[in-house]
Symmetry: C2
Amino acid sequence: MGSTYSAPVQPAPRVTEELDKPILRPCERPHPQETFDQTSIASDSFYGKIRAIYGQRVLKTQLEQLRKQGSYEAFKLGWHPKFDIEKLQGAKCTISSPPTLLWDSDVGKWIEAACYFLSTADGKGLPHASEFVSAIDELIAMMAKAQQSDGYLGTYFTVVDKAGRLKNLRDMHEMYNCGHLLEAALAHYRWSEDRKFLNIMIRYVDLLMKTFGPGENQRHGYPGHPELELAILRLYSLTRDPRHYAFGRYLVAARSQREPSLGGKPFFVWEAEQRKDTFFHASMASIDDGRYHQWHAPLHDQDTILGHSVRALYLVTAASDLDGTLLNDANRLWNDCVDNKMYVTGGIGSVPDIEGFSEFPHFLPNSHDEGGCYAETCASIACMMICERLLSQKLSGKARDVMERCLLNNVLGGASLDGKRFYYANRLATCGNEVADRSEWFEVCCCPPNLSRTMGLLGGYMWSVKTKSQTISLDIYLYMSGERTVKLPSGEIATVEMSSEMPWYGKTTLRLQAPVGYEWIVQIPEPEYAVIFNVSPPSLITSTDVEGYHSLFLPARSTISVTFDMPVRLLAPHPATHQDTLAIARGPIIYAAESYDNTKMEGE
Amino acid sequence: MGSTYSAPVQPAPRVTEELDKPILRPCERPHPQETFDQTSIASDSFYGKIRAIYGQRVLKTQLEQLRKQGSYEAFKLGWHPKFDIEKLQGAKCTISSPPTLLWDSDVGKWIEAACYFLSTADGKGLPHASEFVSAIDELIAMMAKAQQSDGYLGTYFTVVDKAGRLKNLRDMHEMYNCGHLLEAALAHYRWSEDRKFLNIMIRYVDLLMKTFGPGENQRHGYPGHPELELAILRLYSLTRDPRHYAFGRYLVAARSQREPSLGGKPFFVWEAEQRKDTFFHASMASIDDGRYHQWHAPLHDQDTILGHSVRALYLVTAASDLDGTLLNDANRLWNDCVDNKMYVTGGIGSVPDIEGFSEFPHFLPNSHDEGGCYAETCASIACMMICERLLSQKLSGKARDVMERCLLNNVLGGASLDGKRFYYANRLATCGNEVADRSEWFEVCCCPPNLSRTMGLLGGYMWSVKTKSQTISLDIYLYMSGERTVKLPSGEIATVEMSSEMPWYGKTTLRLQAPVGYEWIVQIPEPEYAVIFNVSPPSLITSTDVEGYHSLFLPARSTISVTFDMPVRLLAPHPATHQDTLAIARGPIIYAAESYDNTKMEGE
């Protein structure tokens, strides 16, 4: 149940120092995000070319933006005008915390992204690699200095408001920042094998684990914006320190608990009373009753996904990395999101004022004039993260199809091809004089660097491999062109090479090479949109035990080809959307018809 | 059918000059709005005291605001900085036309309101009466000068853009302004028996009837914001000129017709092409496909009410004043609005960006953070106008209950008790740092003067009387305190006096006096919220043939009392609203619980 905080007995504890050996996760298969760097995406392929835009242009653009924004310099702990929250807040809706509170996470996401590109074979030829490397070193050096004696690391509450430290977990994003910096540190360690950044973050995490938790002398708190949960569970897959797993599980399970020691109140209510809400005043019903921050009920009792989309989906991402009930809850809420609250484009979030979910299933207006539309890039990225974790826990054609739909239709469009402009919201239509163009940057700019780290990690979304004695299991998630090596227990190497014409043509060739005596079990996806699906030689197809997949048993050295048709489809919206529209799709791609490029309709 | 434009054969035409005799409408009963001035509301009663606020303060405030705004002086046809639309429009969403385009209607509504108060017995003691009278005279004198040789009357297109006259009916509100000035002229004629203002407006209407219509040499147009339809049907009930009825009917029936002479296009599409939409660009799906302006389908084919709430409900108001199919269509769309798209407060419109209706039945979020909420004062006033017309066509307890609900919960709150501040939107809850207070005025200020004319006309919403030979039929709409005289065919006088403790207590006494030989048929409403309903003497109750009403047959001189209980009710929202709330009601009044006056909920 969501209400027990005890650390799991299994797996056996290991000391944090042993970081050399290969690690397995609770679900006993390697987390693709931990093996992405064994994959090299073909540079001349569709995904390779897009990835190159990020490696060659977007990362550079974003580094310049971070410098311009002030978040880069902020770790020097100097004063910045934007720290003057009261002034900034004046005009703002009180639901959004001041942009400077998110600066540390912007930097963290950029470092994480840069490290991914630096550590993948196809990223070796980065034009600005040396500039990135020295920026990363400088930032880490600044952080080492910025870290307080007790381990705390955060620019705003070190420079501006020491007394306010960790007093407003609901709004102030300290744990969120810590999470992104921790993921950056994990990526940095994986690339550099240097522990200095990781040590900084483990020290900070130790402070948070000491301060917050179920213990008598701990504050029973959790963040208003989940992210530390995701990061610490990734840390656990490296350290296998059960305290890391337990804390990640606690932050998810403690949510919405009525703590006797807090007068039976939910943490955010108690916390707001403690600080007398002098600065932030929760002036929305959905904040007061917890829906916005997903503490209106324990995850186990939530039958529909509500509130701020990214917060909700990050919480579900963490739960999908956990065990037992929480994993089931993640499955239920993800299915509700996909079945009832996702746009045909994979866009998520139809209530602009909360950047979030409607109470209404199938309330998916295309624009503000129809009642709302948001479809934040980060929300679809979060959905991809959930898909990847669900797939690594249990293969599913549905999770694969959704991951591909989000990636191609609500994520890749988040950046322009020149790598200089970005979408935050990906509305299906715009209203009045709303801006329909991409922007160079945003005051709150979570999306652009989130895009970069997702592209950096793309190899991790492609497939996953598990080895057991002489059997190599290969699960294919996305049809892409690339190759990867597999380290076998014997120390030998197996290689997989996939060359695909997706997303344009359903033609893919797979070449497998393993030492004599090994065999492959390959799970080949049959996408929802595929018609006339063939694997040759056909005799290889076995009756499938996974919906949307075919299991193939193959000898050590095999070459197979997969072909399927992708006829143009006209997709009609669910009747409950009350929409009189059709979407044009071919394969995984939804096509957009810009009104500016077309003559106006005449109401017929 | 909604597609035939022919003028009705009945009733027999009368020449416009004969304005002296008592008039009957097509539905063969006096339009309450044409007999309101026979009613005097008791000044010491609930409604009398509120009405006094308008007569003594609101009208004065609004006259000052009109002078400050510039709309008063505008009829002198001088230049005003606010006429510089391009400059004004820059920052605005293109769906809202420039405020100055509505100035003429603001003045019209104020004159109409002032005339109502001047012509009712309880309005005789107006403290500022002489100032109002000279303002009215000055405005009418200015209009007489401002009227062009061909009859056109409109400040903006006379001063700024002569060439643009009547070229953009969709956005520029010329017909809307004409409608409100015409209703003002009717009120002025009724009060002063002076035809000068009415003649001005009839000249303008003649120009419009010549320019627009089904004829070969006419433009097949209709306004983007209905109102002229309502006004001209009221004009018809005075003139009985069938051309007036036919034009009112045409403007409703022509809507959405695909005109062969316009290349089979709807008028607004053709019109936008003619002017190449250089200034206004319809950049919303709901404008492009006609939903916003209600031309997406003929009224007869609309199975749910859509688009801008006030425009939609004004169109339905006009249809509810018409015959046959259009009256049925009005009934169907009004029932859809009330059953599926109205807040418990009688508020209407849940999509802020279009000030309008959702495609979703029961999509009634309380605030922006829940997905939207608008509930414009004018929309509930429009609903009251529909109720009053439906009641005058066919008595109905439902229409009566809805009219009372709108008046008490989403209309009266539109002005502060000091008569100086007003609501435009009446949201059930506010979000973030939205303004929850009333404002002194609005750039587009349709609501405040609309409130005044509604309060001025309040006696017309109270009851209606019809006389046939020796029988006087009295239909009671609202329980209020007041009296009225009834002119009998014999020239004699009957009087009705109602004294009621509503809305606080279900206790009402009715005193009827008619000459010997007359008898009364009185329709007494039993409100939806009434429990233990008694009429004494009880023997008088007859089996009711109208839902929500009791028919009483009474001798010439009768006194009866009506009593009912109004226990406190907890109203649960329709399940499809997905809302976890309760509304507290007693009788017709919905009670509001201000979060600022109450401790925060704790998500329990």
